[in-house]
Amino acid sequence: MNTIILIFIIFLAGAILTFLASNIKGLLKEVLFLASVIVPVVMFFTGVKAGDSFNFHLAGFAFQWEITPLGYLFALIVTGLGVMAAIYAVSAMQKTKNLGLFYFNFILSIMSMLGILFSRDLVSFFIFWEIMTWSSYLMVVYQGKDVQKVGIKYFIFSAIGAYAMLMAIVMVYSLTGSMMIDKMIQSYAGFAFNMQIIIPILFLIGFGVKSAMMPLHVWAPGAYSHSPMAFTSLFSGALSKMGIYGMVIVMAGMIAYFPEGHWFRIVIAWLGGITAVGGTLWAIAQDDAKKLLAYSSVAQLGYIIVGVGIGTPLAMLAALFMAVMHALFKGTLFMAVGAIEKQTGTSNFTEVTGLIRKMPLTFLASLMGIIALAGIPPLGGFVGKWMLYESLIGSDHYLLVIVIFFSSTAAFLYCYKFLFGFFLGQEEKEWEHVKEAPVLMVIPMIILAGGTFLLGTFPGLVIKPISAGLEQLGYAATQGKYWEMSMLFNEWGDQVVLEPILYAIIAVFAFFLVFLLIKNHKNTRYVSTKDISTSGEVPKEHENLTFIQNFFQPFLRAVEPLMKRQIDFYYNGFGKGIEALFDFTRRIYTGNGQTYALYAIIFVVIFLLLKTTLFGI
């Protein structure tokens, strides 16, 4: 039997078995869960290679599953992060109710993501896309508290996206008579101009929703922060990448027909840029770590969209590299928040402080994640951002560079807030009992954090598969020459990027770490963090006076006009308007039987009057 289909069967069977076993006491369900995640992943790494395929026909549609180089790259993200998150989840989700549902959806989302990556036809792409959507939706609403609105919002946006995509798929079908992605890309040049514009836009809406592109991002903060953290790491790390993957395979193929600098590309890039800035600003304003990370994810995906939109080889390389990187560090950070939340019961900066000595390993992981996020060498974020800047400058998008630069500088603010809020600062009596998270939760974090370091130092490890993927997309022969594209690689050669400064930087880090640890050991006068008074303002009683409160107040005041009206507001208004309208139209059904009879007669009379026009007789 073909390994590809076997992988899916094991996933599916594992999901169902785990679900069924969820009521059995003991470790059976955990074992089944881990097995049904890890076994297919192992099979994936050992049993298949790029180029394997599996074809069949169902319901009159030809299905083609194939492992493409690009798909393989993203599959690496999904499987790697998936396994880590699964291990993390087993420990993190202990003693939660309804565990079967969690495991079931977890496995299904991994399966569907792999399915998306393997699909070479639009039907199975859409099928897996939808499975991913509803399984992640069930995760968002899984915790069951105040999730009505969040869940519905997530699903409405996903549905709008999915149906926009379906519309595009069907339009492609009506134009080409085929559902194959390759065929679509090939015959794209022959479409009429309006189709050439409409189809990518519809696809863009579909993918933009999943990757939280700016006007469509409003679901993201709520959904990310409400789903269990064990899943959010996967959600933000891998699942949102599916939108990027879609954009890459569809858009890159399609808008390659538009010359560089075409308005359509610029629009996409600018959407990404706006997403980045907006996400960053909102992230700064958050007091809840989960929401902060969620907005930060929005911002990070914005960078990636910029890269895809620009579409030069280097920009694509940067985007894909950042996609991998983002999966690693955002996975780490969400896991860390999850660990903190599990140990302390909250994820709000204003409540938790000074955990550095209580949870040193979590701190370490978070630190690495934050550094990677901020784009400081030697961790991976730096490489991606560098390439992005370089590509932007190289293709004369100076304004965009400024935007991105502003955004990533502003990102330091929330990075700092995250680190400082949770780990540094005064230790509180309230949190004295807090211990380090369980081993199974820490290990995945550390591994992922290590990954950011590894890839930052040896970016070649992942750039090779990326180049293979780019070649698949039609970027001629980037493989073997990728280091020629970026200054970064030009300077230092192939695999050993940054090696000269590597050890220096490690030393600096080690120094700071030791310094911080030592500093915290000093005896200091104990003042409760909630006891300080804000300068110039008289605190009210019971006001939360933690130092993290109103952390970047001046900055936030400066950007307030930008953030005054959340886009949410307009969507809500729109939704309410629609509902009011429908509330009005449903009054057609007056409840009076006579009126219904009158409708029937009017129906007849109208058609009798219009019979010539309607029936041509």
């Binding site: 549905a159 149906y163 039987g593 009879a597 409708y599 129906f603 058609f607 007789i617």
Partner: protein, 500 residues
């Protein structure tokens, strides 16, 4: 010869007359016998369908008079498929309601099962008959059973719903009779095949008027907007399983009658566009109305109407792909909507008002039923890998073949609305706190109900994961519908061979 289509009508009629007598012997028999009859109909329709698949259309004459003169029953791929759907659902509804609300007295219970059986038999009759007046008679049989079933509970506002239904139904039969009168006055025959073969000789003015009256008359049964005012009330007030029967049985028969008129009887090509138009209007109005419903069954009813609008749109496309999609939709709807009605009626079992807000948190107490409701919701809004997805996709591709992009866009926009209101309910069931004061007292489904629901759930999953299990059947049925001359030949010639 395994049996004859006429037995699909004769046996339930016989049973209907027998049940009052045997009810005097042992009261339980009035519950059991209808089940046996419905099971028999199910088996018979399936075996006949298999036979039809192999040997071609069965044309059954009655009283020995050949086709144009006597009444005849046509059991083809299309009608057989629909008859099978109808009898299957009839049996499942029986199984579900076997012990549903046990506290009803003997007399009403007896009548409930007779009406249920006659509802199914009447709908089967509508589908398999080849004579328009006979179809009218069967519509009335179905109608009266439906009125009685709607008014079954004396405590609720059911009489109001039934009266509205009856008013509309009565108007419908008047329109039908006018149309029949016009056709008879022009062509001198009532046999569908002969009407179809002679239709070109008919004066176009009469043709159009007859078509309008036909569509209005049957449209009331098929829940076309704005003729469907009765439908939400009837669905809401009828017993839960009967809502399923309406959605799965009565409407399907109505839709069949519409398409038989448009595709076979009348040769007016513009009627297809007409179907698309009214289908779209029905779809949009019904789904947008469903968005703001407070009562669960009413919401399901509007959703059902909307789906029928989509079916009409798909039929209106008129190509093989379109007809295939429409039949697929009908099949899926017949599987999914009953599941929603079944599980929904247990969710609000102990509630008087049947409000959506009363289902909060029930997922905890009745996980299986609630899970099935969720499955049904997922399937009906067209999420893969469940049944509804394939039909929605085939509708869209069929429309795409004809370049009807506006239709596709509207259908997809409406689908979003559909998702919103279904997921609101699912969210409430699973992810909201159970509140003693507001929510209903949970009521566990009985064993027979669980079986009925499980069968439907399995069908949903099977069709969802392996749609080819049914597509072959649907393809032959859609070829059958489009093959007008084949239908005429079959009926008129097979009739010849049986001349005495």
């Amino acid at each position: 010869m395994v049996g004859s289509p006429v037995l699909l009508i004769a046996v339930p009629l016989l049973a209907a007359f027998v049940i009052p007598l045997i009810g005097m012997i042992w009261k339980e028999l009035v519950r059991i016998v209808p089940g046996l009859v419905l099971a028999y109909m199910l088996v018979l329709s399936v075996t006949l369908l298999v036979e039809v698949n192999q040997n071609g259309t069965i044309v059954e004459t009655i009283a020995g008079w050949k086709a144009p003169w006597g009444i005849n029953l046509v059991y083809s791929n299309l009608t057989g498929l629909l008859a099978t759907i109808i009898t299957t659902l009839g049996f499942l509804v029986w199984m579900f309601s076997y012990r549903f609300k046990r506290n009803v007295d003997f007399e009403p219970a007896k009548k409930y099962f007779i009406f249920l059986m006659m509802l199914v038999a009447g709908a089967t009759g509508i589908v398999i008959t080849g004579d328009i007046f006979n179809q009218f008679v069967f519509i009335e049989i179905t109608g009266i059973s439906a009125y009685a079933l709607t008014a079954f509970y004396t405590g609720r506002n059911s009489a109001e719903a039934a009266f509205k239904y009856l008013m509309m139904g009565s108007l419908a039969s008047s329109f039908l009779l006018i149309a029949i009168a016009i056709i008879y006055s022009q062509l001198g025959t009532l046999n569908m095949a002969e009407i179809a073969s002679k239709m070109h000789t008919m004066d176009p003015v009469f043709k159009v008027i007859a078509l309008i009256f036909f569509i209005t008359g049957i449209g009331i049964e098929a829940e076309i907007f704005p003729l469907n005012g009765w439908a939400p009330d009837a669905y809401t007030e009828a017993p839960g399983p009967i809502g399923a029967a309406f959605a799965g049985v009565v409407v399907k028969a109505g839709i069949y009658a519409v398409i038989r008129m448009v595709f076979t009887l009348f040769d007016i090509p513009a009627a297809h566009d007409f179907l698309i138009t009214i289908g779209l209007i029905t779809l949009i109005v019904a789904e947008s109305t469903a968005l703001r419903q407070e009562k669960l069954k009413r919401m399901l009813a509007y959703s059902s109407i909307g789906q029928m609008g989509l079916v009409l749109v798909a039929f209106g496309i008129g190509t093989h792909a379109g007809v295939f999609a429409a039949l697929f939709l009908m099949l899926n709807h017949a599987v999914i909507k009953p599941l929603l009605f079944f599980s929904g009626s247990y969710l609000v079992f102990n509630s008087k008002e049947k409000r959506i807000s009363e289902v909060n948190g029930l997922g905890k107490f009745m996980p299986y039923t609630a899970g099935l409701f969720a499955l049904g919701s997922f399937a009906i809004v067209g999420l893969p890998p469940f049944a509804g997805f394939w039909s929605k996709l085939s509708v869209l591709t069929a429309a795409a073949d004809e370049g009807l992009l506006l239709v596709i866009a509207l259908v997809l926009i409406v689908s979003v609305i559909e998702i919103v209101y279904y997921f609101r309910v699912v969210n409430r069931i699973f992810f909201q706190e159970y509140n003693k004061e507001e929510s209903v007292v949970p009521h566990k489904p009985r064993f027979n109900a669980i079986i009925a629901m499980t069968v439907l759930a399995i069908l949903i999953l099977v069709i969802g994961f392996y749609p080819d299990a049914v597509t072959g059947m649907l393809h032959s049925a859609s070829s059958d519908l489009l093959d007008k001359s084949g239908y005429i030949d079959n009926v008129l010639q097979v009739g010849q061979s049986l001349i005495r």
